[in-house]
């Protein structure tokens, strides 16, 4: 790799051992991808996890004198103030969360604790080179906003925030952003939930390809939440960091543009409404009595909180069910100001900011059955020992009221 004088100084330790470690990681990545050089990034988002390995990496950098050159936003850990009072966590689990918050504060991160920075707070513009980790965020900034990000991990995104650079490869080049396969879809997904299932179906066969979605009819523009759910699942069942929707996303005004200089493939994959229904059944656990409804993976927007509030009017959740909506601090503040929070809490629904589904604070529900509108939530919670039924929002509300799901 050809490094600038500035980058060489970072690598040889002249800027301190923390910066050196960050640059070592990026040079190693650059080699692995045959990058010729580094490029400056103007934004970063770090998908901190609150797992020990990730926190250790941040400590290694900050204890070696590193601070962020580009201020990154951060993913959620869990709201220690609100949730410690509700649920049993061990002292070690609480200490790790506090340590994580402290070390990211010390390295100079912007502690947004939100996994949807690209909707508010850290929104790249078209053509901007950025380093975004978080599986739902990377496809959104690439495909929907037209910014350029590699499929960064939390550790590589933090390294980019420290050095202000990222290795120049892959999606940073126009030619690698072009479509590589066509997906024909003969229906229009109704809700963000349906877009999520569509993403899961496509991700399974797309792998690391750049799929181009061609809808037979486009009655309206998909909402930001719909596109967020699509990307989240594309990048969970597959490793899709870039996609196109013909006539919707900025690099695909026409199908020909989406493929650039290459011809549009004559063959295509198809996804039907029946495939979505079959996928819902395949992903889901059997129904039964539930102890938890969990929404907000990725974090619910204020618009989604409003939709939920409308569905909950005049209803109350079952005594045996806890109902949590995970959201950003901004959406929570809006829900507070606009009145939805109070009305939802009167019905038994609680909103929490700064928190991820994949954290130890939820362990008291493990062993019981949960309901969620997010396949990604189901996938990660299963690892921690809680099975989930996956259903659309209106059915999640029905389940919460009845205390069971069919």
């Amino acid at each position: 790799m050809i490094l600038s004088d500035d980058e060489k100084r970072m690598l040889d330790g002249s800027c301190g051992p923390g910066v050196q470690k960050a640059m070592e990681l990026q040079v190693a990545l650059g080699k692995a991808f045959d990058a010729e050089r580094m490029i400056d990034v103007s934004r970063a988002h770090v998908a901190l996890s609150g797992q020990e390995g990730d926190t250790y990496w941040c400590e290694l950098l900050v204890n070696g004198g590193a601070v962020c050159k580009v201020t990154p936003t951060t993913n959620p850990c869990w709201d220690v103030k609100m949730l410690t009072n509700h649920y049993g966590v061990s002292q070690a689990e609480l200490d790790l969360a506090l340590r994580t918050i402290d070390v990211y504060r010390r390295i100079g991160a912007r502690l947004t604790f939100c996994c949807t920075p690209e909707l508010a707070g850290n929104v790249p513009s078209f053509g901007e080179h950025v380093a975004f980790s978080e599986s739902s965020a990377t496809p959104y900034v690439n495909a929907v906003l037209g910014a350029r990000s590699s499929r960064e991990s939390s550790v590589s995104a933090l390294a980019a925030a420290v050095t202000g650079k990222t290795p120049l490869y892959g999606l940073h080049f126009d030619e690698n952003r072009r479509g590589t396969m066509v997906v024909d879809i003969d229906f229009w997904p109704d809700e963000p939930y349906d877009w999520g299932l569509l993403g899961w179906c496509i991700g399974e066969f797309a792998g690391t390809e750049v799929p181009v979605l061609r809808f037979r009819d486009r009655p309206c523009r998909p909402s930001p939440e719909a596109l967020l759910y699509l990307g989240a699942e594309l990048n969970t069942s597959g490793a899709v960091a870039m996609y196109h929707i013909v006539g919707v996303t900025p690099e695909a005004p026409t199908i020909e543009t989406a493929f650039g200089a290459a011809p549009v493939p004559s063959s295509s994959q198809t996804v039907t409404r029946a495939d979505l229904k079959a996928k819902e059944e395949a992903l889901s656990e059997e129904g039964g009595k539930i102890n938890l409804v969990m929404l907000g993976c990725p974090h619910y927007s204020h618009e989604q909180i409003r939709d939920l509030e409308v569905l909950m009017r005049g209803r109350k959740i079952h005594d045996n069910v806890a109902f949590w909506v995970l959201t950003s601090f901004e959406a929570l503040e809006l829900a507070e100001r606009s009145g939805e929070r109070r009305r939802l809490e009167d019905a038994g629904v609680r909103l929490v900011p700064d928190t991820c589904i994949d954290e130890p604070c939820w362990k008291s529900f493990e062993g019981g059955l949960g309901v969620t509108d997010s396949p990604k939530c189901m996938y990660y919670r299963e690892r921690r020992g809680q099975p989930f039924v996956v259903r659309r929002l209106s059915e999640c509300v029905e389940a919460a009221v009845k205390g069971e799901v069919s």
Binding site: F33, D54, W57
Partner: protein, 140 residues
Amino acid sequence: MKTMEKRYRCRCIVAGSGEGEAIVSTEAMCFYLCDPETGTVIEKGHPLQGRSIAGKILLLKSGKGSSVVQVDGLYQLSVKGTLPKAIIVADTEPVLVSSSVVVGEPMVDHMEVDPFEAIADGDWVRVDADEEEIVVRKSS
């Protein structure tokens, strides 16, 4: 007993060096599915299931699993002192690279010959990432 020693060129991914007995994984690995106390692979159906990678030279097909679990997996091995001495990787992938840098695990790739032909379980191997050299001693 006759000892054959051969030297091969390779490419440095993470600096450092190490030597020891070779253990060969013809499949990708997720280090989250190793017991940190012993370095034993616990992934069901993995070719190395039940065997320990601790203190060995690991010849690895590739990495698999999300960055969160791969980083944490290698980190837990490093805390318990059960990391391999060095990794020779056949198909390099970014999560494995990032995770190895985090724990300072020496790693090389681009061995000049097919590593799965040059190295077998039980061979003595020295990996010098800084010099971009692999030494293999076969006992026969």
